[in-house]
């Protein structure tokens, strides 16, 4: 083939396919890496049981997913954002600015966050106070806030072995980080009395602003290398623990249950994490998982509503479904969510 012909035909193909690229026929999902396994299980079963193509599920973290979700409405934006936390008011505002107004919030169930260390290492029985004393930037000593002096776990709690503190916690783009801050660090901050002290000395015009400042001071973590942010997935945390046997990592319950040969789980406030103890609410560090659907895309992207309904169907997200087999704690109010999705109820109550 002559050179000129080759070039011409290649350019024609490119131009033709570029114009032919119109309707997208598969659902596009992105977001939390905690929700990813559940979403991929559902996507696979959806592709098998329906005539629609298998949805594409990307990960990258709740914040990254919601950011892409809020980029606008149209086929070049994603239809569903997975999140391991509730969408924030700031994100809703960003969504609204880009024209994404009608959003359906779907709660799929609950997930526990566990603290695990190398299987051959020491066993731990944590309380939120221990974590606050180990990781906070400033702790209260003799009624004053001082830079965190703790080096080993024995410094934190005399009952613990003298093992260096080394924590691998999720980075700020993960929704898991927020739960860790709220349910562990902040709880520990309040339990040690540091919160009250910070609140009394907080700057701010209103009581609300003062509370916010105190909370912010509570959850600011030390930056001297003792606490390491992991921006990747749990596999990265696991790899860090394998190379540093002193490390203690934050994992999702489902991830831990798949790697019981390498990790041992620590109790929190005396409770062993399991789907049962999370379902009863005894295990304190759990959070709901969500996905968000653009209502404007329903009817435009084929299979979007069917995917959302299938995700929370009893046989999928219910107590005996494949999701709870993998580690999701089934939502006792699943039927209300099913109803809301069937009616396409958007956030803010209007359908």
């Amino acid at each position: 083939m002559s050179f000129v012909k080759l070039t011409a035909s290649a350019l024609t193909i490119a131009a033709a396919t570029a114009t032919a690229a119109t309707a997208r026929d598969q659902v596009q999902v992105a977001g939390s890496s905690t929700v990813l396994p559940y979403a991929s299980i559902v996507a696979e079963a959806f592709g098998e049981n329906f005539d629609f193509p298998t949805p594409v599920v990307e990960s990258g973290g709740s914040s990254a997913g919601l950011k892409r979700f809020c980029e606008g409405v149209g086929e070049n934006t994603i239809d569903v954002a997975n999140a391991s936390r509730r969408i924030k008011a700031k994100e809703l505002a960003a969504c609204a600015d880009a024209g994404v107004t009608d959003i359906i919030e779907v709660r799929i169930g609950y997930d526990g966050i566990v603290f695990a260390s190398d299987i051959k290492g020491n066993a731990f029985e944590f309380t939120p106070t221990d974590w606050f004393l180990a990781l906070s930037n400033e702790i209260m000593v003799d009624g004053k806030m001082v830079a965190n002096p703790n080096k080993t776990w024995a410094d934190v709690n005399p009952a613990f072995p003298a093992q260096d503190i080394q924590a691998f916690i999720p980075g700020t783009k993960h929704g898991t980080r927020e739960v860790f801050e709220d349910k562990v660090i902040l709880a520990g901050c309040e339990a040690t009395g540091a919160f009250e002290h910070l609140l009394a000395h907080a700057e701010g015009d209103s009581a609300k602003a003062q509370k916010k400042a105190a909370e912010k001071a509570c959850i600011s973590l030390r930056t001297d290398g003792v606490s390491v942010d992991i921006d990747g997935d749990y596999t990265e945390t696991l790899a860090r623990i394998e190379s540093n046997k002193d490390g203690i990592g934050v994992f999702g319950l489902a991830f831990y249950e798949n790697n019981t040969d390498k990790l041992q789980v620590a109790t929190m406030s005396g409770i062993v994490p399991s789907t049962e103890s999370i379902a009863t609410g005894e295990y304190p560090v759990s959070r709901p998982l969500f996905f968000y659907v653009k209502k404007a895309h329903i009817g435009v992207i084929p299979g979007l509503k069917e995917y959302a309904e299938f995700f929370i169907a009893d046989e999928v997200a219910g107590a005996d479904g494949p999701l709870s087999e993998y580690g999701l704690v089934a939502d006792p109010e699943l039927n209300m969510t099913q109803e809301a999705v069937a009616n396409e109820t958007t956030m803010g109550g209007n359908s």
């Binding site: 070039t7 079963a45 098998e48 193509p53 298998t54 599920v57 990960s59 249950e257 040969d261 993998y326």
Partner: protein
């Protein structure tokens, strides 16, 4: 300076002799020997590293090419699969994969009972030995062959990843102590079923040809569809980067006047070759997806992005091979009356073709192994589509690529995916080695030296 009168009686030995080595020569020779030793040491370190890398990859990855299968006779009950008995495909479709679970359970139970094995396991635990893909396999078979409903058919199902790991030695009775997915009693039964020949390990073609599978069924995941994704991307790269790159380098090398503008272009091409590939991904997202509205996750977009990335490599290597053609060839062609274009296309380009092809293949190999730019255009994720059937489907329907698939597997929770990631690396390396070998052979066979 030597003072001749200081020792008149004893004639000094000559300072430099060709026969005896003086100190300086010895030092120089020693330096040379040392340098050779450094060189050999450097090469040995490199070779040892390569050896370690290859043995790690092969030892960890070969397991993925074998898989544990369970052979069962399944009675396709009409009462469960087609209640109306009309063999109406729409009615049969209404039974979801969840409806097939009891059939798989009872088949497993009957097989165990039929062999006379004693076990205290419940039927749910019995079926737990099988992959979760069994129900999907069964449903796909029934939908394709509805006339088989009511009959008993032999199926070869995949075993669960833990069972597979047990047969491969990855999972041991000690390692499953805290594992909720499998119990020692189940492993006892596996031992008995292996002895009975129901469970066996064999070559798994689906790993090479199949598509990705969800986190619950690592045993069913395969590279095939992502391989197709890579293939279509390479087609786009070849169709665009080769003609554009060759045309650009011919113009720059043969026709363009040498002035500051061509100098600027030249410097920029060299710079572009060194730009991190993720930058091309960002560009691709902004231009092709957000501005041109091309579909997300499509190999066409991936190919376009990789084209941008490969172009500088191709231009640089093509220009080098054009430069290597001696001016006498051009002069001779011009001398017998050929036009400038005829001299280039009839004489210079054919002589430069081997170098040009080598550069293209190496550029393609580089593009084949690239993950970072694909991250931003949605080609990294759970993309379990079926193998594309037409050219446009291959270019436009969502797909992954081989390196992206490997990255995706390496992130997943179940250790069985880790083995598959290594297996995927073997496949990818085979492709890369083949492409580079072809490049070397082409160069050896057709290259001319002047």
């Amino acid at each position: 300076m030597t003072d001749l009168s200081s020792s008149p009686t004893q004639p000094a030995a000559p300072e430099n002799s060709l026969l005896t080595l003086n100190k300086r020569t010895k030092a120089r020779n020693a330096a040379e020997r040392r340098f050779k030793a450094y060189g050999i040491a450097a090469i040995s370190v490199g070779l040892i590293m390569l050896l370690v890398l290859v043995t790690t990859i092969v030892s960890r990855g070969t397991g993925a090419f074998q898989q544990t299968f369970v052979t069962l006779n399944v009675e396709l009950l009409e009462s469960k699969l087609d209640k109306s008995g009309q063999r109406n495909i729409e009615d049969i479709k209404k039974v979801t994969t969840f409806g097939y679970a009891p059939i798989v359970k009872s088949a497993m139970k009957e097989t165990v009972n039929g062999l006379g094995l004693q076990t205290g396991l419940k039927s749910k635990e019995l079926a737990g030995l099988l992959s979760k893909s069994a129900v999907a396999q069964l449903r796909a078979f029934v939908l394709a062959n509805p006339e088989q409903i009511g009959k008993t058919v032999e199926f070869r199902f995949l075993a669960q990843s833990r069972v597979d790991g047990y047969l491969k030695g990855r999972v041991t009775r000690e390692s499953i102590e805290n594992d909720k997915n499998i119990s020692p009693e189940q492993l006892d039964l596996v031992d008995a079923l292996v002895a009975a020949g129901v469970i066996e390990k064999s070559f798994n073609l689906d790993f090479i040809l199949g598509s990705d599978a969800s986190d619950q069924r690592p045993e069913a995941a395969g590279m095939g569809v992502s391989m197709m994704g890579s293939l279509f991307m390479m087609l786009v790269v070849l169709a665009l980067a080769l003609p554009i790159g060759v045309a650009a380098s011919i113009y720059l090398e043969e026709f363009a006047p040498k002035n500051w503008m061509t100098d600027v272009i030249e410097v920029n091409i060299a710079n572009l070759a060194a730009v991190p590939s993720i930058v091309y991904g960002i560009l691709g997202l902004a231009v092709f997806i957000n501005y041109r509205h091309l579909p997300m996750s499509a190999p066409l977009v991936g190919g376009l992005v990789l084209t941008l990335m490969t172009l500088p490599t191709i231009i640089i290597s093509t220009r080098a091979s054009l430069k290597a053609v001696p001016p006498s060839i051009r002069d001779a062609a011009l001398g017998v009356g050929a036009s400038k274009m005829q001299s280039v296309f009839h004489h210079v380009l054919p002589l430069a073709a081997p170098g040009n092809l080598t550069g293209t293949i190496i550029g393609l190999a580089q593009a084949l192994g690239e993950t970072a730019p694909l991250l931003l255009i949605g080609m990294v994720g759970f993309i379990a589509s079926n193998a594309p059937e037409t050219l446009s489907e291959g270019l436009l329907s969502p797909n992954s690529a081989m390196p992206a698939q490997i990255y995706e597997w390496a992130k997943r929770a179940d250790p069985a995916f880790y083995e598959r990631a290594w297996g995927g690396i073997i496949i990818l390396l085979l492709f890369l080695v083949t492409m580079n070998t072809v490049a070397v052979i082409l160069r050896r066979r057709f290259e001319r030296r002047w």
